[in-house]
């Protein structure tokens, strides 16, 4: 441990406070008893799909197309997910199948 116990607790509290501001802010700004402004309501409907797109890209941000495996394991595994999901339409199967293919690829092939 680099820090003392008290300092460690200080860092934990600081990280928690920062995180909780980001989580509670919208709910504090637009409390239950107030009507949600139209524009915010629009964002509430438009943002989720866009944010899931962001999360996908965010998860893949470390992939290097130029070096190493050129992002091929990721590309192939996502391909498998797309096909599985199209054919079977089963969330767990698609996630499990894609993950297993990815693990096999990075452990055995690349």
């Amino acid at each position: 441990m680099h820090l003392t116990s008290l300092q460690t607790i200080g860092i934990i509290v600081a990280v928690a406070l920062g995180t909780m501001i980001t989580r509670f802010l919208p709910f504090l700004l637009f409390p239950e008893h107030k009507k949600i402004p139209e524009y915010i309501e629009f964002l509430g409907k438009a943002l989720p799909t866009a944010m899931m797109g962001l999360l996908v890209v965010y998860c893949l941000k470390g992939v290097n197309i130029i070096k190493g495996s050129h992002g091929l394991p990721e590309l192939l595994a996502i391909g498998v997910i797309l096909i599985l999901h199209r054919l079977k339409n089963n969330v767990l199967l698609s996630i499990g199948g894609g993950t297993i293919v990815y693990m096999l690829l990075v452990q055995l092939v690349f």
């Binding site: 441990m1 680099h2 820090l3 300092q7 460690t8 607790i9 200080g10 860092i11 934990i12 509290v13 600081a14 990280v15 928690a16 406070l17 920062g18 995180t19 980001t22 989580r23 802010l25 919208p26 709910f27 239950e32 949600i36 915010i40 309501e41 629009f42 964002l43 509430g44 409907k45 438009a46 943002l47 989720p48 799909t49 866009a50 944010m51 899931m52 797109g53 962001l54 999360l55 996908v56 890209v57 965010y58 998860c59 941000k61 470390g62 394991p73 990721e74 595994a77 996502i78 997910i81 999901h85 969330v91 767990l92 698609s94 996630i95 499990g96 894609g98 993950t99 693990m103 452990q107």
Partner: protein, 225 residues
Amino acid sequence: MKKALKEAFPHTIPILTGFLFLGMAYGVLMKTKGYGPVWSVLMSAVAFCGSMQFVAIALLTTVFQPLQAFLLSIMVNARHIFYGISMLSKYRGLGKMRYFLIYVLCDETFSITYGVEPPEGVERRYFYFAISLLNYLYWVFGTLIGGIAGNFITFNTEGLDFVLTALFVVLFLEQWKKKENRVMGVVGIMCSILSLLIFGADQMVIPAMILIVLCLSGGRKKLCI
């Protein structure tokens, strides 16, 4: 409540896998830096913020800088603001329970509570609560195992963390099924890639969020939702 847990559990299985694995990795990593399970579990239970906890390891191994920790976690976690905006109407009228739901609103919980409709016969708030609680416990429990026994894992887990990427891909596809969502999906992906190319992997999230809001607001009249 029991029924809600039973109905919610299958939806959380990918997160069980991902969180146990990553939580354990976190517990092990903290241990190698001299912070035993008490500290890693405390961080996971109180701050519960995944990637930021990994970032915070750097803050625990240098001089004491609480203000920097505070500001950094706002920036790293800024995306939560958008989850909150998306959940404003779904999390209305849930009583005191909503404080817990908001406290633990992470990427994975957001994607499921937003994407999955509560099944019939299960009260909405219990369903959300069950998903949020399970995901929270997976992360804390994973951290605990990692902190105590992380070094005993022998099977090759390389690539297991892809389960969360797969989860987001599939939940994205589920949104894609609704035709009116597709434009938003494309906007999200394109803005994120653009931001990744311009600002790099470590700085991409906030610029991507700004770009997304600008694009969506610009096309508001055409989106007709």
